[in-house]
């Protein structure tokens, strides 16, 4: 595969929150370099306080690094004049769907970003309908947010972002407050964004099975990126991951433990189907041998 153009590029960025009373605050990010190319579907893992949310907030100029620089599509995020251009290219979805919805009617909320950008009314209408259809919520356009479930609200929040037609969407634990059904809905929507619309997706998550769906996983710990590779490679290092206080997907762990016990299984299993296939062939093989 030809290397695609780097869309977001963070170059040795460090960040610390402003100091109070002369106390020198600790570095939340410590010389992170990461580049994300167009069309990638990337997960960022890390336990609480590892700096992963802070890192994500650098991608659309919510935070400006204290050292180093971030560029989005060639624009430095420190350039204040280009702020809206950057935020239009890189949208961000947060954890709590309730706290992201501004208007009392769904379609008005989806229109919010476009209204802010001064898009002409007819075009807003068209783009709002389009965004609602993409997240499969078109028939709810006249509902009030309080009538929707958490998963539906989160999809509305996503629609509000993709109405801007961004090239990249950063999601900060979008499924953390949802029930399993809502989580599945939202993950399906996110996957569609990436596969069908070609939107670059960066998802911060605590759920390892969500990370396993991505095609790249970065692990952040103590303000540094400690692993950055394919999910297969990252989750292959089960012990290293566990050492950092993180988990691997259940199936990966199962196969890893079985392998430790001496069963002949592949090095890293990511999905349930893979696990079933591996176990099946193992059992069949075992039957033949025995």
């Amino acid at each position: 595969m030809a290397k695609k153009k780097n869309f977001i590029e963070a170059n040795r960025i460090s960040f610390s929150y402003p100091s109070y009373d002369g106390v020198i605050p600790p570095l939340v990010l410590d010389g992170v370099s990461i580049s994300i190319s167009e069309g990638e579907f990337m997960a960022v893992l890390g336990h609480n306080g590892s700096g992963k949310s802070t890192l994500a907030k650098h991608f659309n100029a919510i935070l400006i690094p204290t050292e180093g620089g971030v560029s989005v599509n060639g624009i430095n995020t420190a350039e204040e004049a280009k702020l809206f251009e950057i935020r239009q290219e890189v949208g961000m979805v947060f954890q709590n769907p309730d706290n992201q919805i501004v208007a009392t009617i769904i379609e008005e909320d989806v229109a919010f970003a476009l209204e802010n950008l001064g898009v002409p009314p007819e075009e807003i209408r068209e783009r709002v309908d389009d965004a609602l259809k993409k997240v499969d919520m078109y028939e709810y356009r006249l509902h009030s947010p309080s009538q929707l479930s958490g998963g539906q609200k989160q999809r509305i929040a996503i629609a509000g972002i993709i109405a801007m037609r961004p090239k990249c969407v950063v999601l900060d634990e979008p499924t953390a407050m949802l029930d399993p059904k809502g989580r599945r809905e939202v993950m399906k929507t996110i996957k569609q964004l990436n596969e069908e619309l070609g939107i670059t997706v960066v998802i911060i998550t605590h759920y390892m099975d969500e990370a396993a769906m991505c095609n790249r996983v970065a692990v952040v710990d103590d303000g540094r990126v400690i692993m950055d590779s394919t999910p297969r490679e990252v989750f292959g290092k089960v012990d290293a991951i566990k050492e950092r206080g993180l988990d691997v997907p259940q199936v990966t762990e199962l196969c890893h433990e079985l392998k430790k016990e001496g069963f002949d299984l592949p090095a890293c299993v990511l999905s349930e189907e893979e696990c079933v296939a591996a176990l099946e062939s193992l059992l069949k093989g075992g039957a033949q041998n025995g």
Binding site: M92, D98, Q100, E108, R125, M164
Partner: protein, 272 residues
Amino acid sequence: MLKDITFGQYFPGDSVIHKLDPRMKLILVIAYIIMLFVADGLLPLLVGAGMVVLFYALSKLPWKLIIKCIKPILPIVIFTAVLNIFFVEGDPIFEWGFISISGKGVLTAVLMCIRIICLIAGSSLLTYTTTPIALTDGLERLMKPLQKIKVPVHELSMMMTIALRFIPTLIDETQKIMSAQKARGADMESGNIIQRAKALIPILIPLFVSAFRRADELALAMECRCYHGGEGRTRMKQLKLTAKDWIAALVVAGGFAAVILINIYGPGVFRL
């Protein structure tokens, strides 16, 4: 449940009144209220009452809604009537000890009652047939000229919108906090007023803390969607005055004219 209350008492419908432009409705309600106070006799006030009845009929709302909106102000109506009956001076028609009732007093009381009832019924019709969001929208656009004298019109209407949006969320949250405190043994139902007010503190504090946290997150989410105040903002929904609106305006103008004419040329009966 608490959250099912539609704030502003909007009743969904598909009538002509529902479809009027909120700006026109606001202006007409204000004109109507002025009209009620211009009317100085029974006859012109009946014109006003007739208009309310006409508009209610057109809105196809259940009639019991009129009663529903008048009920809470009934004590005020009765109080005003009683005051007027006893304290307006004129030729007494009934005297008993120090109490004297004049014909003028009775007339003033009746007129006042009709006026207040029409006023409440008329303005309730506005909130019954207009969604809070349309109302905010209408207000924002009507007040736009005030922006020139530095009135923060957009900010005010944004605040209204967000307040409306978060009312159900915060009600939900209040219920959750109440249950949580009850589970910890909080007693909110017994004791005198002061004790009950004190019992509210453990509910209000977490509610405020969470409201501030929500505000913080909302601000961040709004920033991510390029919010930068009212400058250069467009709106998806454009308000347009249609024939319906102008007809409604004509009806109200007609009523107003009738009231003024009756005031000047009408018969002198039942007038102040």
